[in-house]
């Protein structure tokens, strides 16, 4: 079955497409909705909100998550906030401005119609969440507060201190619980989707494994929604949760769902660096810190070496012995350059031998200047003339604590260093994946009946996501887009009746899963799953990470192929498949990462340009800036699975920009 890409973008003016389309989607009557089953995999913002909304509309929903409760999905960890074009601050924000910022921030590699719809429904999200009891930050007048984020020129970010993700997810989880209580959603926690089942060319169910009993289960439905998040854990180390994985999306890919732009990865510049070989994950420090922190490394290599060996302390270096490399390279934006630029610059310095921690992969984020500046300001406000240095520092530290106290505390817990007294150490880390399953305007993948929502799809962020936009997209897809757009597919299913699970298709799918489980359990290898995952992560990080080159990518592809072969020969999974077996769970996920990683490299190799999170060393200006090639690469790469990632077939969806002019991003 060859894939035919039809983005199904509605006709008409950009601002009218969604309302017109929504009005024309065939309706399914309430009586008929009761005859239709929908499976939702994943219970983060997209999954919980979609499951709740579909159940409210009358569909019978089965929802699945591998965690012990739907409330633990990784959306919970989002810190900063959620964007919406409310213009409560009266600073000139509008749906158009949010649309424009998102298309531009994505380095002109997103689909205009989808992004505009996202901007349109953004305001409903805030209304909805407040009605559900989400405790957003408020000002003294009792109205909602906003902050600015990620370099845009307006304050459109709604937040709940540093845990906006948890509060939004608890809101969606409460809506989900309401439907569970009504019996409209059947919840399957500690269940993992192992395979998708296709019947007559349509996604009609899944094989799930009960992670407690180890039993395989067949679940049928008229449509399957994958809300399974991103695949950043292909790098082993990332800010993702330990369990975040690509398996559900990859199984769909293997059954015909095209994977779009898999190479677009967001590497966040401010994370706590790796402390040793035992490291299991990385922790993000909010981007907001770059408003006041100055990033530097020592000017002289000897100083960097001395610091690494503990013979010198960063506070020993005078201002002229420090290289504030972002301020040096990007005088106009300084420390506030976008995420991709800041990350690459840190890597460049560390690769050149200026890294400042034991592993040589860390730079300083220094608040001493901000503390001094705020301290002097406070002294002036308080009428203290000729304050002593100690007074200035004390006053300044109070201001910094008020702004970033919780982040400083988190840093101190992890590193045991006091960031008020010495600079923080930070390093870039994998954070978000803009690529994902290709979807049309209805969020349906190239497999009829299989939909992808939230980070699992590719559609809205282009080659680079702006801060506070991921939460917006997850909830937009789940509350306000998919519940309507699934109607176009499901309206033809009102006479279909229950999908039987004793068909040859379910039989074959279950058998396939069982044989993979048996293979892992019976494999008498010598190396743990993590051994392979770490190795894969290192290949990806070094050759398909912040900077990529043709030679490096080709090496990576052959190294991954060798590693994959070794994995199947040498992996060791103790215990049995009957009951809880966390190593077995990991083995299945890593097997899929080993294929995805190769496809990411294939995609990066195809894209002979630099854009957003994808930086090809061959395509940069003399000053080392990204060179986009709109004439040849303004397309979405949608890859069709052929049995081997390296021979995947490329389909191109040409991107048309009718409402935004294509420009070069410059931060000099």
């Amino acid at each position: 079955m060859a894939i035919q890409l039809d983005s199904k973008i509605p006709e008409g003016q950009i601002g009218e497409k969604w309302s017109k389309h929504k009005g024309e989607i065939p309706l399914v009557s309430p009586a008929n909705k009761r005859l239709i089953d929908v499976i939702v995999v994943g219970t983060g913002l997209a999954g919980s909100s979609a499951a709740a909304s579909l159940a409210e509309m009358g569909y019978n929903v089965k929802a699945f998550c591998f965690q012990d409760s739907p409330r633990r999905a990784h959306s919970i960890a989002a810190q900063g906030g959620i964007n919406a074009a409310k213009n409560y601050q009266n600073d000139g924000d509008s749906v158009h401005r949010l649309f424009y910022d998102t298309v531009k921030g994505g380095d002109y590699r997103a689909r205009e119609a989808n992004v505009h719809r996202l901007a349109e429904v953004s305001t409903n999200i805030i209304d909805q969440c407040v009605a559900q009891g989400v405790p957003f930050a408020r000002d003294y007048g009792g109205l909602l507060d906003n902050r600015s984020f990620g370099g845009v020129q307006v304050s459109r970010t709604f937040y709940a201190k540093g845990q906006t993700g948890q509060q939004l997810l608890l809101g969606a989880y409460s809506a989900l619980n309401r439907q569970v209580a009504k019996g409209k959603v059947e919840m399957f926690a500690r269940h993992e989707m192992m395979e998708m089942v296709i019947v007559d060319g349509k996604a009609r169910g899944i094989i799930a494994r009960d992670l407690t009993t180890g039993k395989l289960e067949r679940h049928s439905a008229h449509a399957v929604l994958l809300c399974t998040g991103g695949y950043g854990n292909v790098f082993f180390l990332s800010t993702n949760a330990m369990g975040s994985n690509v398996t559900a999306a990859w199984k769909a890919h293997r059954k015909g769902a095209a994977m779009a732009n898999p190479c677009y990865t967001q590497i966040h510049p401010t994370c706590i660096p790796v402390s040793g070989d035992h490291q299991s994950k990385l922790t993000l420090m909010s981007e907001s810190l770059r408003n006041d922190g100055r990033i530097w490394v020592p000017k002289k290599k000897e100083d960097a070496e001395a610091i690494r060996e503990g013979r010198k302390h960063p506070n020993d270096l005078a201002a002229d012995e420090r290289d504030y490399y972002l301020e040096r390279r990007y005088p106009a934006f300084g420390n506030l350059v976008p995420r991709d630029v800041a990350s690459r610059a840190a890597k460049e310095r560390c690769d050149a031998g200026f890294g400042v921690n034991k592993t040589g992969e860390a730079v300083y984020l220094d608040f001493a200047s901000a503390i001094e500046r705020y301290g002097k300001e406070q002294a002036h406000i308080k009428g203290i003339h000729n304050p002593s240095d100690a007074e200035v520092i004390k006053l300044g530290e109070e201001v910094v604590e008020g702004k970033y106290g919780n982040l400083f505390q988190m840093y101190e817990k992890i590193t045991a260093a006091n960031p008020y007294k010495e600079p923080m150490m930070i390093y870039p880390a994998v954070h978000y994946t803009m690529g994902g399953l290709w979807v049309d305007y209805n969020l349906m993948t190239s497999v009829p009946g299989c939909f992808a929502l939230g980070e699992a799809n590719f559609s809205d962020h282009g080659a680079n996501r702006l801060g506070a936009s991921a939460l917006m997209q997850g909830l937009a897809d789940g509350y306000f887009v998919a519940p309507y757009t699934v109607g176009e597919f499901l309206s033809s299913d009102i006479r279909t009746g229950k999908i039987p699970t004793d068909s040859p298709e379910f039989e074959a799918a279950e058998k396939e899963v069982q044989s993979q489980l048996d293979r892992f359990i019976n494999n008498k290898g010598t190396k743990s799953v993590d051994y392979f995952h770490r190795k894969l992560g290192l290949i990806m990080w070094n050759k398909c990470g912040m900077a990529r080159s043709e030679a490096g990518l080709k090496e990576a592809i052959s190294e991954i192929r060798v590693l994959r072969e070794e994995f199947y020969k040498e992996v060791k999974v103790p215990g049995t498949a009957n009951g809880t077996n966390q190593e077995l769970e990991k083995a299945g996920r890593v097997a899929d990462f080993l294929e995805l990683g190769e496809l990411m490299c294939v995609d990066a190799l195809d894209r002979n340009e630099s854009c957003g999170g994808h930086f090809r060393e061959e395509f940069q200006s003399e000053e080392g800036e990204a060179l986009r090639d709109d004439a040849n690469y303004a397309y979405v790469s949608a890859w069709e699975y052929t049995g081997d990632p390296s021979t995947s077939k490329l389909h191109k969806e040409e991107l048309k920009f009718e409402n935004v002019e294509l420009k070069t991003r410059s931060y000099k």
């Binding site: 909100s49 709740a52 409210e56 965690q67 012990d68 409760s69 739907p70 409330r71 633990r72 990784h74 919970i76 960890a77 429904v121 409903n124 999200i125 209304d127 909805q128 407040v130 009605a131 559900q132 009891g133 405790p135 957003f136 930050a137 408020r138 000002d139 003294y140 009792g142 201190k161 845990q163 948890q166 509060q167 989880y173 809506a175 619980n177 309401r178 209580a181 919840m187 926690a189 407690t212 949760a241 330990m242 369990g243 402390s275 040793g276 035992h278 490291q279 299991s280 994950k281 922790t283 988190m410 817990k413 992890i414 509350y479 743990s528 103790p574 009951g579 809880t580 966390q582 190593e583």
Partner: protein, 250 residues
């Protein structure tokens, strides 16, 4: 540093369970507690011993999935941290560390250190929501101003991550801190008020059905709560419950 680990091993819900002793000889103080267990598990796999099963996911103190009763304390020594945020620098070379699951009748052990906390989900299904459809056609978010103090108190209650440390810590296995936090978040906000009476009655009823014990005001839960949820929530819930019991039509 070198540690002696005494870890609870239990093959399944019906197994009796026992403490096993494992040496940990290569512990770096920069490791998180869970990374220390990762290293132990790698060693066990190498020796053909089944690795220790424990729940964990985000590893940054927000998902609430990690648990563990370490040296007699939920989430181990240190205040305001979950087990995943606990670092090995809190321990000394030569220490013996006891690692057990969160114990409560309402949290049956599934395997080793993994317990079933689905009782918490059922308590919330009993009323932990505002009955509003997700149509998006609600009133404008700023139509009802919420006094900042109420909003802040609701937020403080809402920071509960549902880990169950309160239950594991309580000598009565009471879930009052958890339930009261969930009840308070909604009862403090105007959006949650219309259903407040039914909500508190239903959630408390479900809490009792799940087999959680009663509260005797020892306050241990507040001390061990990684998110600092205040006992005031319990007082608020008791007040709401009493008033609802007297005035509800039920």
């Amino acid at each position: 540093m070198k540690l002696t680990l005494k870890i609870w091993r239990q093959n399944g819900p019906n197994d009796k369970g026992r403490i096993e002793t494992y040496p940990a000889n290569n512990v770096s103080e920069d490791m998180s507690f869970l990374e220390m267990l990762d290293v132990l598990n790698e060693e066990l796999i190498g020796k053909d011993i089944e690795p220790v099963v424990f729940d964990h996911d985000c590893r940054e103190g927000i998902c609430g999935m990690c648990s563990l009763f370490i040296n007699g304390e939920a989430h181990g020594p240190g205040r305001g941290v979950t087990t995943c945020q606990l670092h090995m620098r809190e321990f000394k070379d030569g220490d013996t560390v006891y690692i057990e699951p969160f114990r409560s009748k309402a949290f049956p052990v599934l395997k080793d250190l993994m317990v079933d906390r689905s009782a918490f989900d059922r308590v919330q299904q009993a009323g932990g929501y505002v009955s509003v459809n997700t149509s998006g056609n609600t009133i404008d978010a700023n139509a009802i101003p919420v006094p900042k103090e109420d909003a802040d108190n609701a937020f403080d209650a809402a920071t509960c991550i549902g880990c169950g440390a309160c239950v594991a810590t309580c000598k009565n296995s009471s879930a009052m801190l958890f339930v009261s936090a969930k009840v308070s978040q909604f009862s403090l906000l105007p959006q949650g008020k219309p259903e407040a009476r039914e909500r508190v009655l239903n959630m408390v009823h479900q809490m009792d059905l799940e087999g959680f014990g009663n509260c005797t005001n020892t306050g241990a839960c507040e001390v061990e709560c990684p998110k600092g949820i205040s006992l005031e929530n319990i007082a608020r819930m008791n007040r709401d419950f009493l008033s609802a019991s007297l005035t509800s039509a039920k």
